[in-house]
């Protein structure tokens, strides 16, 4: 039987090709198309820098995803720790030699492109932890040693990102890590206690926040306290979404973005623009596409044989879901403003690269769903 499976797992190229999840692929393509159209709109109805750059990145990274999906999932398993360490190194490099833009050191210059290692870390922390828990016996999951070790794995990159400073991304890294811990079967009581602890220590945390971050929290609680200053983004964003109505103002007709009332419309607030132009119906369709994508990811996880692949797919799917929820809640005024991009839709190479690597690994889990990992 072992022999049989082993044999079966040595799929030919064409078999692998046939095993690709075409629903997921087409959903990603549709999303890519939507994001390109939206980017075109942010450029004011012209093909300018953002549209072109986004298009190129999407094409390159999408092809890369296809390539990754043909690589055996075992390879990714074996790469788990190494990639984590490499990204960690890049983060340390960023802290020391990173490019400073708008007050924080987030990028490293790789000559042909600037890369944001913190975005990559969002994916590779899942990979690393999934590998860590794959090997672990069920009874050891809740052992003191494993909890400590996994927490270190989470805290080191998180703190490296915090000092950039980039609170948003570091929180997303932490969430990605915690999601893996939860799926790995960490006892519920730990989550309960840590939630309790963080609520109690909330005042202390707030006292550690930077002034602008405190302002964001205050603004979230009451955006009208400074409508032209700190509250401007969220107020304008809500106006944009709200004025979209059921059917939206129409493609390229979003006055809020066209007349430059919207801040950060290429990146964090891209959904606002989309929602203004395509309205409630368009937004729900977009959410539906995301829902299908997440469903497909989880389905691939469910169909995978290996625990590693399952853990990765579930965690990755959940993380993507959380990124989307955080971004949309922020844009719709349900959460304070934290810098978090909308996967695939937002402009940004590193985010797209990380997401596409994630999808690639998921796709690889699909094409190698029968692969068991020792």
């Amino acid at each position: 039987m072992y022999q049989y499976t082993r044999f079966k797992n040595q799929n030919s190229f064409f078999q692998k090709f046939g095993n690709l999840d075409y629903v997921l692929l087409s959903c990603l393509l549709i999303l890519g198309f939507i994001s390109l159209a939206t980017m075109y709109s942010t450029d004011g109805g012209e093909i300018l820098f953002h549209t072109r750059s986004h298009f190129i990145k999407f094409i390159i990274f999408f092809s890369m995803m296809i390539v990754i999906s043909f690589i055996n999932i075992k390879f990714w398993f074996s790469l788990g720790y190494l990639s984590y360490v490499i990204i960690l190194g890049m983060l340390i490099w960023t802290v020391n030699f990173g490019i400073t833009a708008s007050g924080s050191k987030r990028w490293i210059d790789l000559y042909f492109l600037n890369i944001q290692p913190s975005e990559l870390m969002k994916i590779f922390i899942i990979l690393c932890l999934a590998k860590y828990f794959h090997r672990m016996k069920a009874q050891n999951v809740n052992s003191f040693y494993s909890i400590c070790f996994s927490l270190i794995i989470i805290f080191v990159p998180m703190s490296l990102v915090i000092i950039q400073p980039d609170l948003g991304t570091s929180l997303l890294i932490a969430i990605s890590g915690i999601v893996v811990l939860w799926f790995a079967g960490l006892n519920h009581k730990y989550f309960f206690y840590s939630c309790l602890l963080s609520i109690i220590s909330l005042p202390i945390i707030i006292s550690f926040l930077k002034p602008y971050q405190k302002l964001r929290v205050l603004t979230f609680l009451n955006p009208d306290r400074d409508p032209l200053g700190a509250g401007y983004q969220i107020i304008q964003s809500k106006i944009a979404v709200g004025s979209g109505g059921i059917t939206g103002k129409g493609f390229l007709k979003g006055t809020q973005s066209y007349l430059e009332f919207l801040p950060e419309k290429h990146t964090d607030f891209i959904f606002t623009l989309f929602s203004e132009e395509f309205g409630f119906i368009g937004s729900v369709i977009l959410l539906l596409i995301y829902a299908i994508i997440i469903y497909r990811i989880i389905r691939i996880g469910a169909l995978s044989r290996s625990y590693f692949a399952k853990l990765f797919c579930y965690s990755f799917g959940t993380s993507i879901f959380i990124y989307i929820v955080i971004n949309m809640s922020m844009v719709l005024g349900l959460l304070p403003i934290v810098g978090s991009p909308l996967p695939i839709m937002s402009y940004g190479g590193s985010s797209m690269l990380a997401t596409m690597i994630g999808f690639g690994i998921v796709m690889s889990a699909k094409t190698h769903s029968e692969q068991s990992i020792a």
């Binding site: 709200g242 007349l259 989880i298 879901f321």
Partner: protein
């Protein structure tokens, strides 16, 4: 290595947790959709309004100001097309080059140039910089010829105030200038219609009729971006021009008044004695109101302000003068009405050697030799002071003040049309007690009888007084703006007790102008068509001392500030009176020699113009 059961526990736990999370995800997704629903469907209207508020901005354009016309429909304050030069700095590639080129072409001085640069630094780069607000045609066409070289410079034709008759109507109309903070605070209309560069009335009728004149703004609705830059025009709503206000003034007579008062300080008022229409009202010296439209230069302003003849004061309305002998018709009338004297009442005027003496004070007649025995008619004709001392003494100041007030002295003639109009002062015993806290003395009554002392009148009041005597003693309400409303129920109410008394005074005034030894005999017009009746007045600016009396200096030998004011009131034509006038020349000397000759010139024209005015009226009715 991993045993199967262990793996199965892990997978079980994993799938169970996935299931829990999937449920949570669906709930959260539902939450987001409901939030979207709330914002986009339920609150859509609110946010749509907010979005429009964001993107649509209105620009008000200056309204076009209403015009003033004289009686014959000639525009006396209109609008003209001012040639302006605008630059929008961001549309200019090389601002430095262009601005220096413009400087060179217009020949701007360093100071002007610096002002423009300062203004440029204050505005946003997409806002209009007005480089020149009123260019002459020569410079404007010069700029137009060099436009190929001046990228971004816009020659603009804008509407601005114009006073074609320059200084002729200055005190009646006032002038317009840039609205300042004070205008905005005091006038709601201006506040509502304010746009930078809006010009509003500062004095005169321009100010009091602001509400009617200002018109309404044209509104341009633009789509703007977050930085306030205009993207596209959405709508243009044309405003209404302000109302045209028609005055009763005859420009020709007004011009003549200006001509006659040239180089002199004083005022001329001409009034229709039946309608109360002001035919002319001029205060001299005047100034050109056009200089204020684009802001007056400091030098020019200082010149006007420091002129000893006070061009800024509207002497017709706010000049308080002792009426001098021009009050005598009222004194005589009051005495007749109160039956203190009869027309035959006679007083002996003994001249300077034997003046009237009362409680140690002496009261001289103006004539050194005295007039001898004079009755009312003679006294008025020769303006005998001694006679009126006696009449005033018998009459008492309180009775006199009642008659004077009835005939329009001591109160504003034009209610509230002119904010600079003065009330003048008609004293009585009560007034002095209240105002000065001292009792009235008889000597003050005596000098009031010849229009000296506390008594103060404005030229327009004297004109009204004369008009009401001339029309047979009926109340009229002067007006300067043509309107058909008969808002006054007591119009043409008799002001006399006996009509005969009015005729006696009219006759006395006739004698003063048309009979030998009358004070204005030399200024008479013999043709009955033009013949007028009047009363001269010479009001002292300072008390005449014994020394002055001995020196008996001629007017030109006295310092300007100490010379007497020359006054003259008259009405005509005598046979069938229609117009009354008052003339005052500050520090002019004697009323008979300086003021009365002007009346001669005026009446010639007034009577001639009357025909034209009547024909114009008839034609107007025919047109209907």
């Amino acid at each position: 290595m991993i045993n199967i059961s262990d793996n199965a526990t892990k997978l079980n736990s994993l799938n169970r947790r996935m299931f829990i999370l999937a449920t949570a995800k669906i709930i959260i997704l539902g939450g987001i959709v409901s939030r979207l629903f709330f914002l986009q469907v339920k609150e859509n209207k609110k946010y749509l309004t907010l979005s429009d508020k964001n993107r649509i901005r209105e620009w008000k354009l200056p309204p076009i100001r209403g015009e003033f016309q004289d009686y014959f429909g000639n525009t006396i304050a209109g609008n003209f097309e001012a040639y302006q030069l605008h630059i929008i700095p961001e549309e200019v590639e090389d601002f430095r080059y262009v601005i220096y080129r413009v400087k060179e072409l217009l020949g701007l001085s360093e100071i002007q140039f610096k002002k423009i640069i300062k203004k440029k630094n204050e505005i946003k780069p997409w806002e209009t910089l007005i480089v020149a607000d009123n260019l002459n045609w020569e410079k404007f066409s010069k700029i137009n010829n060099h436009l190929y070289d001046l990228n971004g410079v816009k020659p603009v034709i804008s509407i601005s105030r114009d006073y074609p008759y320059k200084e002729n109507f200055t005190h009646v109309l006032g002038y317009v200038s840039q609205a300042n903070e004070n205008d905005l605070l005091t006038n709601e209309n201006i506040k509502e219609k304010f746009v930078p560069g809006l010009k509003v009335g500062k004095t005169g009728l321009e100010r009091s009729f602001e509400k009617k004149l200002i018109g309404s703004n044209s509104v341009e609705r633009y789509e703007v971006n977050a930085y306030g830059r205009r993207i596209s025009q959405l709508a243009f709503q044309k405003g209404d021009k302000g109302e045209t206000i028609k005055l009763t003034i005859d420009t020709k007579i007004q011009e003549l008044a200006n001509e006659l008062l040239k180089e002199k300080a004083g005022s001329i008022c001409v009034m229709d004695i039946y309608t109360g229409a002001i035919i002319a009202m001029h205060s001299s010296p005047s100034f050109d109101p056009n200089s204020f439209v684009f802001g007056i230069s400091q030098d020019e302003w200082q010149l006007i302000r420091n002129n000893p003849m006070k061009p800024l004061v509207n002497k017709s309305l706010s000049g308080n003068y002792s009426p001098g002998s021009t009050i005598k018709p009222i004194v005589a009338l009051s005495a007749l009405e109160n039956e203190i004297i009869s027309p035959d009442f006679t007083v002996q005027c003994k001249g300077h050697k034997n003046p009237l003496e009362l409680y140690g004070q002496t009261y001289h007649c103006w004539k050194k030799e005295g007039h001898g025995f004079v009755n009312l008619r003679e006294a008025m004709k020769q303006s005998c002071d001694t006679y009126f001392y006696e009449v005033a003494r018998r009459l008492g100041v309180d009775k006199l003040s009642v008659t004077a007030k009835e005939f329009g002295l001591g109160k504003k003639v034009f209610k509230d049309i002119f904010d600079n109009e003065k009330k003048g002062l008609i004293p009585n015993t009560e007034w002095k007690k209240n105002a000065l806290g001292r009792n009235w003395v008889l000597g003050e009554t005596i000098i009031t009888g010849i229009g000296q002392g506390f008594i103060q009148t404005t030229p327009i009041q004297l004109c009204l007084m004369t008009a009401q005597i001339a029309n047979g003693g009926f109340k009229i309400y002067p007006k300067i703006v043509e309107n058909n409303d008969n808002q006054y129920v007591d119009k043409f109410m008799p002001l006399y007790k006996k009509a005969r008394n009015i005729r006696i005074v009219q006759d006395a005034m006739f004698s003063s102008t048309n009979e030998v030894r009358g004070t204005s005999y030399r200024s008479r017009l013999d043709d009955p068509k033009y013949q007028f009746a009047g009363k001269t007045g010479t009001s002292q600016v300072k008390k005449i001392t014994e020394r002055d009396r001995e020196l008996d200096l001629k007017t030109f030998q006295i310092a300007y500030e100490e010379r007497d004011h020359a006054l003259y009131v008259a009405f005509g034509p005598y046979k069938n009176p229609r117009y009354a006038l008052s003339i005052i020349i500050e520090h002019g000397g004697s009323g008979g020699t300086v003021a009365a000759p002007l009346a001669k010139e005026l009446f010639k024209m007034i009577v001639d113009r009357h025909e034209i005015r009547k024909n114009y009226d008839n034609k107007k009715y025919l047109d209907i």
